[in-house]
Protein backbone atom coordinates (compact mmCIF):
# COMPACT_ATOMS: atom_id res chain seq x y z
CA UNK A 1 0.00 0.00 0.00
CA UNK A 2 1.43 3.31 -1.11
CA UNK A 3 1.87 5.74 1.71
CA UNK A 4 -0.54 8.66 1.42
CA UNK A 5 0.92 12.13 1.09
CA UNK A 6 -0.06 14.32 4.00
CA UNK A 7 -0.35 18.08 4.11
CA UNK A 8 0.96 19.92 7.14
CA UNK A 9 -1.97 20.23 9.59
CA UNK A 10 -1.77 24.02 9.99
CA UNK A 11 -1.51 24.49 6.23
CA UNK A 12 -4.55 22.25 5.73
CA UNK A 13 -6.51 24.40 8.18
CA UNK A 14 -5.52 27.55 6.27
CA UNK A 15 -6.98 26.17 3.05
CA UNK A 16 -9.94 24.15 4.29
CA UNK A 17 -12.61 24.03 6.96
CA UNK A 18 -13.07 20.58 8.51
CA UNK A 19 -16.69 19.45 8.79
CA UNK A 20 -17.36 16.57 11.18
CA UNK A 21 -20.00 14.03 12.10
CA UNK A 22 -19.89 11.09 14.49
CA UNK A 23 -21.76 7.87 14.95
CA UNK A 24 -21.16 6.32 18.33
CA UNK A 25 -22.48 2.86 19.13
CA UNK A 26 -23.06 2.12 22.81
CA UNK A 27 -23.64 -1.44 24.01
CA UNK A 28 -26.16 -1.40 26.84
CA UNK A 29 -25.38 -3.41 29.95
CA UNK A 30 -28.81 -4.99 30.35
CA UNK A 31 -28.93 -8.55 31.66
CA UNK A 32 -30.40 -9.89 28.44
CA UNK A 33 -30.28 -9.11 24.75
CA UNK A 34 -32.39 -6.58 22.85
CA UNK A 35 -34.95 -9.01 21.46
CA UNK A 36 -34.25 -12.32 23.19
CA UNK A 37 -33.76 -13.50 26.76
CA UNK A 38 -30.25 -14.80 26.08
CA UNK A 39 -27.71 -13.43 28.57
CA UNK A 40 -26.07 -10.21 27.37
CA UNK A 41 -22.56 -11.61 27.61
CA UNK A 42 -20.26 -12.37 24.73
CA UNK A 43 -17.02 -13.45 26.28
CA UNK A 44 -16.47 -17.14 26.87
CA UNK A 45 -17.28 -20.12 24.72
CA UNK A 46 -18.61 -19.28 21.23
CA UNK A 47 -22.31 -19.78 20.49
CA UNK A 48 -23.37 -20.47 24.07
CA UNK A 49 -25.40 -17.33 24.85
CA UNK A 50 -27.85 -17.64 22.01
CA UNK A 51 -31.48 -18.54 21.50
CA UNK A 52 -33.46 -19.37 18.35
CA UNK A 53 -34.25 -15.63 18.07
CA UNK A 54 -30.56 -14.74 17.89
CA UNK A 55 -30.07 -17.30 15.12
CA UNK A 56 -33.16 -16.15 13.27
CA UNK A 57 -34.51 -19.70 13.28
CA UNK A 58 -37.88 -20.23 11.62
CA UNK A 59 -40.80 -19.62 13.97
CA UNK A 60 -38.82 -17.56 16.47
CA UNK A 61 -40.10 -14.10 17.29
CA UNK A 62 -38.31 -11.10 18.83
CA UNK A 63 -39.70 -9.39 21.95
CA UNK A 64 -38.40 -6.00 23.03
CA UNK A 65 -36.39 -5.79 26.26
CA UNK A 66 -38.24 -3.19 28.33
CA UNK A 67 -35.14 -2.32 30.34
CA UNK A 68 -33.21 -1.55 27.12
CA UNK A 69 -36.01 0.86 26.15
CA UNK A 70 -35.73 2.61 29.53
CA UNK A 71 -31.92 2.81 29.21
CA UNK A 72 -32.33 4.28 25.71
CA UNK A 73 -34.81 6.90 26.92
CA UNK A 74 -32.47 7.89 29.76
CA UNK A 75 -29.59 8.22 27.31
CA UNK A 76 -31.73 10.25 24.93
CA UNK A 77 -32.70 12.60 27.75
CA UNK A 78 -29.09 12.94 28.90
CA UNK A 79 -28.23 13.96 25.32
CA UNK A 80 -30.83 16.70 25.53
CA UNK A 81 -33.04 14.93 23.00
CA UNK A 82 -36.80 14.85 22.69
CA UNK A 83 -38.28 11.39 23.20
CA UNK A 84 -40.56 10.31 20.37
CA UNK A 85 -44.18 9.82 21.37
CA UNK A 86 -44.13 6.88 19.03
CA UNK A 87 -41.14 5.11 17.56
CA UNK A 88 -40.81 1.83 15.79
CA UNK A 89 -38.30 -0.74 14.66
CA UNK A 90 -37.28 -1.42 11.08
CA UNK A 91 -35.46 -4.10 9.20
CA UNK A 92 -32.15 -3.11 7.68
CA UNK A 93 -31.57 -5.73 5.01
CA UNK A 94 -28.06 -6.85 4.08
CA UNK A 95 -26.31 -10.07 3.33
CA UNK A 96 -23.44 -10.74 5.64
CA UNK A 97 -23.10 -13.65 8.06
CA UNK A 98 -22.53 -11.50 11.16
CA UNK A 99 -26.31 -11.62 11.50
CA UNK A 100 -28.06 -14.87 10.73
CA UNK A 101 -31.37 -13.29 9.69
CA UNK A 102 -29.95 -11.35 6.72
CA UNK A 103 -31.25 -8.21 8.35
CA UNK A 104 -30.54 -6.16 11.43
CA UNK A 105 -33.41 -4.89 13.54
CA UNK A 106 -32.78 -1.18 13.91
CA UNK A 107 -34.76 2.03 13.88
CA UNK A 108 -34.93 4.08 10.71
CA UNK A 109 -37.59 6.73 10.18
CA UNK A 110 -38.85 6.81 13.77
CA UNK A 111 -35.93 6.81 16.24
CA UNK A 112 -36.68 6.85 19.95
CA UNK A 113 -34.76 10.10 20.57
CA UNK A 114 -34.00 13.09 18.35
CA UNK A 115 -32.85 16.69 18.32
CA UNK A 116 -30.46 17.14 21.24
CA UNK A 117 -27.06 18.58 22.00
CA UNK A 118 -24.09 17.81 24.21
CA UNK A 119 -21.67 20.30 25.75
CA UNK A 120 -18.13 19.05 25.28
CA UNK A 121 -15.18 20.46 27.16
CA UNK A 122 -12.06 21.08 25.08
CA UNK A 123 -8.64 20.59 26.70
CA UNK A 124 -8.32 24.33 27.39
CA UNK A 125 -11.67 24.38 29.20
CA UNK A 126 -13.79 25.95 26.44
CA UNK A 127 -17.20 24.39 25.89
CA UNK A 128 -18.24 23.28 22.41
CA UNK A 129 -21.85 22.34 21.79
CA UNK A 130 -22.20 19.26 19.59
CA UNK A 131 -25.62 18.96 17.95
CA UNK A 132 -27.24 15.52 18.21
CA UNK A 133 -29.50 14.49 15.35
CA UNK A 134 -30.84 11.27 16.85
CA UNK A 135 -30.26 8.24 19.05
CA UNK A 136 -31.84 4.98 18.00
CA UNK A 137 -32.07 1.41 19.29
CA UNK A 138 -30.74 -1.58 17.41
CA UNK A 139 -29.04 -4.93 17.87
CA UNK A 140 -25.34 -5.75 17.68
CA UNK A 141 -23.98 -8.30 15.20
CA UNK A 142 -22.01 -11.51 15.75
CA UNK A 143 -18.25 -11.82 15.60
CA UNK A 144 -16.46 -13.13 12.53
CA UNK A 145 -13.00 -14.64 12.56
CA UNK A 146 -11.36 -14.85 9.16
CA UNK A 147 -9.18 -17.89 8.70
CA UNK A 148 -6.46 -18.45 6.13
CA UNK A 149 -5.66 -14.86 5.22
CA UNK A 150 -2.06 -13.82 5.70
CA UNK A 151 -2.99 -11.25 8.32
CA UNK A 152 -6.16 -12.78 9.71
CA UNK A 153 -8.07 -10.06 7.93
CA UNK A 154 -10.70 -10.58 5.35
CA UNK A 155 -8.48 -10.24 2.30
CA UNK A 156 -7.29 -13.68 1.23
CA UNK A 157 -9.27 -15.49 3.90
CA UNK A 158 -10.26 -19.06 3.00
CA UNK A 159 -13.25 -19.17 5.28
CA UNK A 160 -14.77 -17.37 8.21
CA UNK A 161 -15.99 -18.61 11.59
CA UNK A 162 -19.01 -17.03 13.20
CA UNK A 163 -19.82 -16.65 16.89
CA UNK A 164 -23.32 -15.27 17.51
CA UNK A 165 -22.92 -14.58 21.24
CA UNK A 166 -22.80 -10.84 20.52
CA UNK A 167 -25.65 -10.98 18.00
CA UNK A 168 -28.65 -9.24 19.51
CA UNK A 169 -26.79 -7.33 22.22
CA UNK A 170 -28.68 -4.04 22.73
CA UNK A 171 -27.11 -1.01 21.10
CA UNK A 172 -27.92 2.65 20.99
CA UNK A 173 -26.45 4.47 18.03
CA UNK A 174 -25.93 8.18 18.65
CA UNK A 175 -25.74 10.24 15.46
CA UNK A 176 -24.59 13.86 15.50
CA UNK A 177 -25.79 16.55 13.15
CA UNK A 178 -23.18 18.04 10.88
CA UNK A 179 -20.63 19.75 13.12
CA UNK A 180 -19.28 23.05 11.85
CA UNK A 181 -16.79 25.40 13.44
CA UNK A 182 -14.45 22.93 15.14
CA UNK A 183 -11.58 24.30 13.03
CA UNK A 184 -8.13 23.42 14.38
CA UNK A 185 -9.74 21.87 17.45
CA UNK A 186 -11.36 19.16 15.29
CA UNK A 187 -9.09 16.31 16.49
CA UNK A 188 -9.38 17.34 20.16
CA UNK A 189 -13.11 17.87 19.80
CA UNK A 190 -13.51 14.36 18.38
CA UNK A 191 -11.72 12.89 21.36
CA UNK A 192 -13.55 15.08 23.86
CA UNK A 193 -16.92 14.23 22.31
CA UNK A 194 -16.42 10.47 22.56
CA UNK A 195 -15.02 10.91 26.06
CA UNK A 196 -18.11 12.90 27.05
CA UNK A 197 -20.44 10.24 25.65
CA UNK A 198 -18.51 7.68 27.65
CA UNK A 199 -18.82 9.76 30.83
CA UNK A 200 -22.54 10.15 30.25
CA UNK A 201 -23.28 6.46 29.77
CA UNK A 202 -21.09 5.56 32.75
CA UNK A 203 -22.85 8.10 34.97
CA UNK A 204 -26.19 6.69 33.81
CA UNK A 205 -24.95 3.19 34.61
CA UNK A 206 -26.23 1.85 31.29
CA UNK A 207 -23.01 0.60 29.70
CA UNK A 208 -19.62 -0.76 30.67
CA UNK A 209 -18.34 1.70 28.04
CA UNK A 210 -14.98 -0.06 27.64
CA UNK A 211 -13.73 1.05 24.24
CA UNK A 212 -11.05 -1.64 24.10
CA UNK A 213 -13.79 -4.24 24.45
CA UNK A 214 -15.99 -2.63 21.84
CA UNK A 215 -18.69 -1.53 24.30
CA UNK A 216 -18.31 1.93 22.81
CA UNK A 217 -17.38 2.33 19.15
CA UNK A 218 -16.95 5.43 17.08
CA UNK A 219 -17.27 5.97 13.34
CA UNK A 220 -15.86 9.37 12.42
CA UNK A 221 -17.11 11.24 9.37
CA UNK A 222 -15.04 14.07 8.01
CA UNK A 223 -14.98 16.26 4.94
CA UNK A 224 -13.15 19.42 4.00
CA UNK A 225 -14.52 22.45 2.26
CA UNK A 226 -12.40 25.17 0.72
CA UNK A 227 -12.41 28.50 2.47
CA UNK A 228 -13.94 31.39 0.57
CA UNK A 229 -13.16 35.09 0.74
CA UNK A 230 -15.09 37.16 3.29
CA UNK A 231 -18.44 38.20 1.87
CA UNK A 232 -18.61 35.28 -0.53
CA UNK A 233 -21.03 32.45 0.18
CA UNK A 234 -19.46 29.35 1.78
CA UNK A 235 -18.31 26.62 -0.56
CA UNK A 236 -20.33 23.46 -0.97
CA UNK A 237 -19.65 20.67 1.52
CA UNK A 238 -16.85 18.37 0.44
CA UNK A 239 -17.13 14.62 -0.06
CA UNK A 240 -16.83 12.82 3.26
CA UNK A 241 -15.09 9.68 4.38
CA UNK A 242 -16.21 7.53 7.30
CA UNK A 243 -13.40 6.08 9.39
CA UNK A 244 -14.64 2.95 11.16
CA UNK A 245 -13.80 1.09 14.32
CA UNK A 246 -11.70 3.68 16.03
CA UNK A 247 -11.53 2.03 19.41
CA UNK A 248 -9.64 4.32 21.73
CA UNK A 249 -9.97 7.98 22.61
CA UNK A 250 -6.45 8.64 21.41
CA UNK A 251 -7.18 6.95 18.07
CA UNK A 252 -10.27 9.11 17.50
CA UNK A 253 -8.10 12.19 17.77
CA UNK A 254 -5.33 10.79 15.60
CA UNK A 255 -7.70 9.47 12.93
CA UNK A 256 -9.37 12.86 12.49
CA UNK A 257 -6.01 14.61 12.28
CA UNK A 258 -4.78 12.09 9.72
CA UNK A 259 -7.86 12.35 7.53
CA UNK A 260 -7.69 16.16 7.51
CA UNK A 261 -4.07 16.02 6.37
CA UNK A 262 -4.70 13.28 3.80
CA UNK A 263 -7.81 14.84 2.26
CA UNK A 264 -6.23 18.31 2.16
CA UNK A 265 -3.26 17.02 0.19
CA UNK A 266 -5.50 15.21 -2.34
CA UNK A 267 -7.68 18.29 -2.84
CA UNK A 268 -4.70 20.64 -3.09
CA UNK A 269 -3.22 18.37 -5.76
CA UNK A 270 -6.41 18.74 -7.77
CA UNK A 271 -7.74 15.29 -6.88
CA UNK A 272 -11.15 14.28 -5.57
CA UNK A 273 -12.14 12.49 -2.38
CA UNK A 274 -13.83 9.14 -2.82
CA UNK A 275 -16.88 8.66 -0.65
CA UNK A 276 -15.94 5.50 1.19
CA UNK A 277 -15.41 3.89 4.54
CA UNK A 278 -11.84 3.93 5.76
CA UNK A 279 -10.17 1.64 8.25
CA UNK A 280 -8.06 3.02 11.06
CA UNK A 281 -4.77 1.25 11.72
CA UNK A 282 -3.61 1.80 15.27
CA UNK A 283 -0.07 0.52 14.61
CA UNK A 284 0.78 2.81 11.70
CA UNK A 285 -1.52 5.68 12.65
CA UNK A 286 -3.03 5.71 9.15
CA UNK A 287 -6.33 4.94 7.45
CA UNK A 288 -6.81 2.76 4.39
CA UNK A 289 -9.59 2.61 1.85
CA UNK A 290 -12.45 0.28 2.65
CA UNK A 291 -15.73 -0.15 0.89
CA UNK A 292 -16.89 2.56 -1.53
CA UNK A 293 -20.49 3.75 -1.38
CA UNK A 294 -22.47 1.53 -3.71
CA UNK A 295 -25.73 -0.26 -4.35
CA UNK A 296 -25.01 -2.33 -1.28
CA UNK A 297 -25.93 0.69 0.84
CA UNK A 298 -29.52 0.38 -0.29
CA UNK A 299 -30.76 -1.46 2.78
CA UNK A 300 -34.43 -1.66 1.74
CA UNK A 301 -35.57 -0.57 5.21
CA UNK A 302 -39.15 -1.41 6.06
CA UNK A 303 -41.10 -1.47 9.34
CA UNK A 304 -40.36 -4.62 11.37
CA UNK A 305 -43.63 -6.57 11.20
CA UNK A 306 -42.77 -8.74 14.24
CA UNK A 307 -42.55 -5.81 16.65
CA UNK A 308 -45.01 -3.22 17.91
CA UNK A 309 -44.50 0.52 18.26
CA UNK A 310 -42.74 1.91 21.32
CA UNK A 311 -44.87 4.66 22.91
CA UNK A 312 -43.42 5.59 26.30
CA UNK A 313 -45.85 7.39 28.60
CA UNK A 314 -45.15 10.96 29.64
CA UNK A 315 -45.02 9.67 33.25
CA UNK A 316 -42.25 7.21 32.42
CA UNK A 317 -40.26 9.86 30.56
CA UNK A 318 -40.58 12.32 33.45
CA UNK A 319 -39.68 9.62 35.97
CA UNK A 320 -36.50 8.84 34.00
CA UNK A 321 -35.75 12.54 33.54
CA UNK A 322 -36.02 13.14 37.29
CA UNK A 323 -33.58 10.30 37.93
CA UNK A 324 -30.91 11.65 35.54
CA UNK A 325 -27.54 12.27 37.17
CA UNK A 326 -25.93 15.69 36.88
CA UNK A 327 -24.19 15.98 33.48
CA UNK A 328 -20.54 14.91 33.94
CA UNK A 329 -19.03 18.15 32.61
CA UNK A 330 -21.22 20.29 34.87
CA UNK A 331 -20.46 18.04 37.82
CA UNK A 332 -16.72 18.32 37.30
CA UNK A 333 -16.88 22.10 37.18
CA UNK A 334 -19.02 22.28 40.29
CA UNK A 335 -16.81 19.93 42.30
CA UNK A 336 -13.59 21.65 41.28
CA UNK A 337 -14.99 24.96 42.46
CA UNK A 338 -16.50 23.59 45.67
CA UNK A 339 -13.32 21.79 46.61
CA UNK A 340 -11.03 24.69 45.79
CA UNK A 341 -8.53 22.38 44.07
CA UNK A 342 -5.86 23.68 41.72
CA UNK A 343 -6.10 22.51 38.09
CA UNK A 344 -3.31 20.05 38.76
CA UNK A 345 -4.83 18.63 41.94
CA UNK A 346 -8.18 18.18 40.23
CA UNK A 347 -6.67 16.56 37.14
CA UNK A 348 -4.73 14.14 39.34
CA UNK A 349 -7.90 13.01 41.05
CA UNK A 350 -9.83 12.84 37.79
CA UNK A 351 -7.15 10.98 35.85
CA UNK A 352 -6.86 8.47 38.66
CA UNK A 353 -10.60 7.88 38.36
CA UNK A 354 -11.11 8.90 41.99
CA UNK A 355 -13.66 11.72 41.57
CA UNK A 356 -16.52 9.65 42.95
CA UNK A 357 -14.46 8.41 45.89
CA UNK A 358 -13.26 11.88 46.85
CA UNK A 359 -16.77 13.29 46.46
CA UNK A 360 -18.27 10.62 48.70
CA UNK A 361 -15.51 11.04 51.27
CA UNK A 362 -16.19 14.77 51.38
CA UNK A 363 -19.92 14.07 51.65
CA UNK A 364 -19.12 11.82 54.63
CA UNK A 365 -17.53 14.76 56.44
CA UNK A 366 -13.85 14.91 55.45
CA UNK A 367 -12.26 18.09 54.13
CA UNK A 368 -11.67 18.03 50.33
CA UNK A 369 -7.89 18.35 50.77
CA UNK A 370 -7.75 15.51 53.30
CA UNK A 371 -9.93 13.31 51.08
CA UNK A 372 -7.70 14.04 48.08
CA UNK A 373 -4.53 13.46 50.10
CA UNK A 374 -5.57 10.01 51.29
CA UNK A 375 -7.09 8.78 48.03
CA UNK A 376 -4.31 10.10 45.74
CA UNK A 377 -1.60 9.23 48.25
CA UNK A 378 -1.58 6.28 50.59
CA UNK A 379 -4.65 4.47 49.24
CA UNK A 380 -3.43 4.71 45.63
CA UNK A 381 0.02 3.53 46.75
CA UNK A 382 -1.46 0.50 48.50
CA UNK A 383 -3.70 -0.20 45.51
CA UNK A 384 -0.65 -0.15 43.28
CA UNK A 385 1.26 -2.47 45.58
CA UNK A 386 -1.67 -4.87 45.73
CA UNK A 387 -2.52 -4.57 42.03
CA UNK A 388 -6.07 -3.55 42.89
CA UNK A 389 -8.42 -0.67 42.23
CA UNK A 390 -8.17 1.98 44.94
CA UNK A 391 -11.96 2.15 45.16
CA UNK A 392 -12.17 -1.58 45.92
CA UNK A 393 -9.86 -1.37 48.93
CA UNK A 394 -11.71 0.89 51.32
CA UNK A 395 -15.02 2.75 51.52
CA UNK A 396 -15.30 6.55 51.42
CA UNK A 397 -17.06 6.36 54.79
CA UNK A 398 -14.04 4.63 56.35
CA UNK A 399 -11.66 7.18 54.84
CA UNK A 400 -13.80 9.99 56.25
CA UNK A 401 -13.77 8.27 59.67
CA UNK A 402 -9.99 7.99 59.46
CA UNK A 403 -9.65 11.69 58.64
CA UNK A 404 -11.95 12.51 61.55
CA UNK A 405 -9.70 10.54 63.94
CA UNK A 406 -6.69 12.51 62.68
CA UNK A 407 -8.51 15.83 63.00
CA UNK A 408 -9.49 15.05 66.60
CA UNK A 409 -5.87 14.31 67.44
CA UNK A 410 -6.56 10.65 68.21
CA UNK A 411 -4.27 9.56 65.35
CA UNK A 412 -1.23 11.05 63.72
CA UNK A 413 -0.41 10.39 60.06
CA UNK A 414 1.92 7.52 60.80
CA UNK A 415 -0.63 5.71 62.96
CA UNK A 416 -3.39 6.54 60.49
CA UNK A 417 -1.48 4.68 57.77
CA UNK A 418 -1.34 1.61 60.02
CA UNK A 419 -5.06 1.94 60.74
CA UNK A 420 -5.76 2.22 57.02
CA UNK A 421 -3.91 -1.04 56.38
CA UNK A 422 -5.94 -2.64 59.13
CA UNK A 423 -9.19 -1.45 57.55
CA UNK A 424 -8.08 -2.70 54.12
CA UNK A 425 -7.18 -6.05 55.63
CA UNK A 426 -10.72 -6.39 56.91
CA UNK A 427 -10.10 -5.72 60.61
CA UNK A 428 -13.13 -3.43 60.82
CA UNK A 429 -13.82 0.29 60.87
CA UNK A 430 -10.98 2.72 61.66
CA UNK A 431 -12.18 3.03 65.27
CA UNK A 432 -12.32 -0.75 65.64
CA UNK A 433 -8.79 -1.07 64.27
CA UNK A 434 -7.59 1.65 66.67
CA UNK A 435 -9.18 -0.17 69.60
CA UNK A 436 -8.06 -3.65 68.56
CA UNK A 437 -4.47 -2.66 67.80
CA UNK A 438 -4.23 -0.08 70.59
CA UNK A 439 -2.98 2.49 68.10
CA UNK A 440 -4.40 5.73 69.50
CA UNK A 441 -1.94 8.50 70.25
CA UNK A 442 -1.14 8.97 73.90
CA UNK A 443 -3.22 11.91 74.93
CA UNK A 444 -2.46 11.46 78.62
CA UNK A 445 -0.26 14.49 79.34
CA UNK A 446 1.04 12.81 82.48
CA UNK A 447 2.62 9.97 80.49
CA UNK A 448 3.99 12.44 77.95
CA UNK A 449 5.46 14.73 80.60
CA UNK A 450 7.19 11.82 82.29
CA UNK A 451 8.77 10.84 78.97
CA UNK A 452 9.71 14.46 78.21
CA UNK A 453 11.34 15.05 81.57
CA UNK A 454 13.33 11.86 81.11
CA UNK A 455 14.46 12.91 77.64
CA UNK A 456 15.40 16.41 78.78
CA UNK A 457 17.38 15.00 81.67
CA UNK A 458 19.21 12.69 79.25
CA UNK A 459 20.14 15.59 76.95
CA UNK A 460 21.15 18.53 79.19
CA UNK A 461 22.90 20.28 76.27
CA UNK A 462 19.66 20.40 74.34
CA UNK A 463 17.85 21.69 77.38
CA UNK A 464 20.41 24.50 77.66
CA UNK A 465 19.96 25.44 74.00
CA UNK A 466 16.18 25.57 74.35
CA UNK A 467 16.55 27.82 77.37
CA UNK A 468 18.83 30.04 75.26
CA UNK A 469 15.91 30.46 72.89
CA UNK A 470 17.13 27.99 70.24
CA UNK A 471 13.71 26.40 69.93
CA UNK A 472 14.60 24.32 66.90
CA UNK A 473 16.89 22.25 69.13
CA UNK A 474 13.74 20.81 70.68
CA UNK A 475 13.50 18.48 67.65
CA UNK A 476 15.96 16.05 69.21
CA UNK A 477 13.92 15.81 72.37
CA UNK A 478 10.64 15.46 70.46
CA UNK A 479 12.21 12.62 68.47
CA UNK A 480 13.29 10.85 71.62
CA UNK A 481 9.84 11.22 73.17
CA UNK A 482 8.06 9.97 70.03
CA UNK A 483 10.38 6.97 70.05
CA UNK A 484 9.66 6.30 73.71
CA UNK A 485 5.93 6.53 72.95
CA UNK A 486 6.43 4.14 70.01
CA UNK A 487 5.11 6.85 67.67
CA UNK A 488 1.76 6.95 69.39
CA UNK A 489 1.89 10.59 70.36
CA UNK A 490 0.72 13.78 68.76
CA UNK A 491 3.98 15.46 67.72
CA UNK A 492 2.47 18.95 67.95
CA UNK A 493 1.35 18.35 71.54
CA UNK A 494 4.73 16.86 72.44
CA UNK A 495 6.43 19.99 71.08
CA UNK A 496 4.19 22.25 73.15
CA UNK A 497 4.92 20.25 76.28
CA UNK A 498 8.67 20.08 75.62
CA UNK A 499 8.86 23.87 75.38
CA UNK A 500 6.69 24.21 78.45
CA UNK A 501 8.76 21.76 80.50
CA UNK A 502 12.07 23.21 79.31
CA UNK A 503 10.90 26.67 80.29
CA UNK A 504 9.47 25.54 83.61
CA UNK A 505 12.28 23.37 84.84
Amino acid sequence: MAKAKLMDFDKALELFEPVLGFEVHVELSTKTKMFSDAPNYFGGEPNTNITPVDLGLPGSLPVVNGEAVRYSISLGLALGCSIAESSRFARKNYFYPDLAKNYQISQFDEPIAFGGSVDVELPDGRLFTVPIERAHMEEDAGKLTHVGGATGRIQGAEYSLVDYNRAGVPLVEIVTDIIYGAEADAPELAKAYVSTIRDIVVSLGISEARMERGNLRCDANISLRPRTAPGEPPAKLGTRTETKNVNSLRSVERAIRYEIQRQAQILADGGTITQETRHWHEDTGTTSAGRPKSDADDYRYFPEPDLLPVQPSAELIEELRAALPEPPAARRRRLKQEWGFTDLEFQDVQNAGLLVEVAETVAAGASPQAARKWWSGEISRLANARDAEAASLVSPADVAALVSLIDSGALNDRLARQVLEGVIDGEGTPQEVVDARGLAVVSDDGALIAAIDEALAAQPDVLAKIRDGKVQAAGAVIGAVMKAMKGQADAARVRELVLERAGAS
Binding site: N47, V64, I154, S160, Y164, R291, P305
Partner: protein, 99 residues
Protein backbone atom coordinates in the same frame (compact mmCIF):
# COMPACT_ATOMS: atom_id res chain seq x y z
CA UNK B 1 -50.42 2.24 -14.83
CA UNK B 2 -47.48 2.08 -12.44
CA UNK B 3 -44.00 3.17 -13.28
CA UNK B 4 -42.15 0.02 -12.21
CA UNK B 5 -39.32 -0.46 -14.66
CA UNK B 6 -37.27 -3.49 -15.60
CA UNK B 7 -34.21 -1.68 -14.26
CA UNK B 8 -35.85 -1.34 -10.83
CA UNK B 9 -36.75 -5.02 -10.78
CA UNK B 10 -33.23 -6.03 -11.76
CA UNK B 11 -31.82 -3.73 -9.08
CA UNK B 12 -34.10 -5.13 -6.38
CA UNK B 13 -33.36 -8.68 -7.43
CA UNK B 14 -29.68 -7.94 -7.15
CA UNK B 15 -30.10 -6.43 -3.66
CA UNK B 16 -32.15 -9.45 -2.59
CA UNK B 17 -29.63 -11.86 -4.14
CA UNK B 18 -32.25 -13.39 -6.38
CA UNK B 19 -31.05 -14.50 -9.82
CA UNK B 20 -33.62 -13.67 -12.47
CA UNK B 21 -33.65 -14.42 -16.20
CA UNK B 22 -34.55 -11.60 -18.62
CA UNK B 23 -37.93 -13.29 -19.14
CA UNK B 24 -38.56 -13.38 -15.40
CA UNK B 25 -37.63 -9.73 -15.07
CA UNK B 26 -40.08 -8.86 -17.80
CA UNK B 27 -42.98 -10.79 -16.30
CA UNK B 28 -42.22 -9.62 -12.75
CA UNK B 29 -42.11 -6.02 -13.89
CA UNK B 30 -45.62 -6.37 -15.19
CA UNK B 31 -46.85 -8.30 -12.12
CA UNK B 32 -45.28 -5.92 -9.62
CA UNK B 33 -46.80 -3.04 -11.57
CA UNK B 34 -50.26 -4.56 -11.12
CA UNK B 35 -49.67 -5.07 -7.40
CA UNK B 36 -48.53 -1.48 -6.93
CA UNK B 37 -51.55 -0.26 -8.86
CA UNK B 38 -53.88 -2.28 -6.66
CA UNK B 39 -52.28 -1.08 -3.47
CA UNK B 40 -52.48 2.49 -4.76
CA UNK B 41 -56.27 2.15 -4.80
CA UNK B 42 -56.18 2.06 -0.99
CA UNK B 43 -54.60 5.50 -1.01
CA UNK B 44 -57.58 6.81 -2.93
CA UNK B 45 -59.99 6.00 -0.10
CA UNK B 46 -57.60 6.85 2.76
CA UNK B 47 -58.22 10.46 3.74
CA UNK B 48 -55.60 12.73 5.29
CA UNK B 49 -56.70 11.91 8.84
CA UNK B 50 -55.86 8.23 8.42
CA UNK B 51 -52.24 7.76 9.51
CA UNK B 52 -49.99 5.32 7.71
CA UNK B 53 -50.19 1.94 9.39
CA UNK B 54 -47.35 -0.52 9.71
CA UNK B 55 -49.15 -2.93 12.00
CA UNK B 56 -52.77 -4.08 11.87
CA UNK B 57 -53.21 -4.71 15.60
CA UNK B 58 -53.63 -1.68 17.91
CA UNK B 59 -51.06 -2.81 20.45
CA UNK B 60 -48.04 -0.87 21.68
CA UNK B 61 -45.28 -1.26 24.30
CA UNK B 62 -45.14 -5.03 24.38
CA UNK B 63 -42.03 -5.63 26.46
CA UNK B 64 -40.17 -8.49 28.02
CA UNK B 65 -38.67 -8.34 31.54
CA UNK B 66 -34.88 -8.21 31.57
CA UNK B 67 -34.49 -11.72 32.96
CA UNK B 68 -32.21 -14.32 31.34
CA UNK B 69 -33.88 -17.50 30.08
CA UNK B 70 -32.78 -20.77 28.57
CA UNK B 71 -30.16 -20.77 25.84
CA UNK B 72 -29.32 -23.29 23.17
CA UNK B 73 -26.40 -25.61 23.70
CA UNK B 74 -23.59 -25.23 21.18
CA UNK B 75 -24.59 -28.61 19.73
CA UNK B 76 -28.19 -27.47 19.28
CA UNK B 77 -27.06 -24.18 17.81
CA UNK B 78 -24.84 -25.87 15.25
CA UNK B 79 -27.23 -28.72 14.49
CA UNK B 80 -28.59 -27.13 11.33
CA UNK B 81 -25.36 -25.57 10.17
CA UNK B 82 -24.02 -26.68 6.79
CA UNK B 83 -20.52 -26.47 8.23
CA UNK B 84 -18.89 -25.68 11.57
CA UNK B 85 -15.67 -26.15 13.54
CA UNK B 86 -17.29 -27.63 16.65
CA UNK B 87 -18.14 -24.30 18.27
CA UNK B 88 -18.52 -21.77 15.48
CA UNK B 89 -20.44 -21.62 12.22
CA UNK B 90 -18.17 -21.93 9.24
CA UNK B 91 -18.97 -19.87 6.16
CA UNK B 92 -17.19 -19.42 2.87
CA UNK B 93 -14.78 -16.53 2.64
CA UNK B 94 -16.80 -13.38 2.25
CA UNK B 95 -15.85 -11.11 -0.56
CA UNK B 96 -15.80 -7.46 0.19
CA UNK B 97 -15.68 -5.51 3.34
CA UNK B 98 -16.12 -6.15 7.01
CA UNK B 99 -19.32 -4.45 8.04
Amino acid sequence: MSEITQEQVAHLANLARIALTPQEIESLTSELGSIVDNVAKVSEVATDDVPATSHPIPLVNVYRDDVPGATLTTEQALAGAPDHDGSRFRVTAILGEEQ
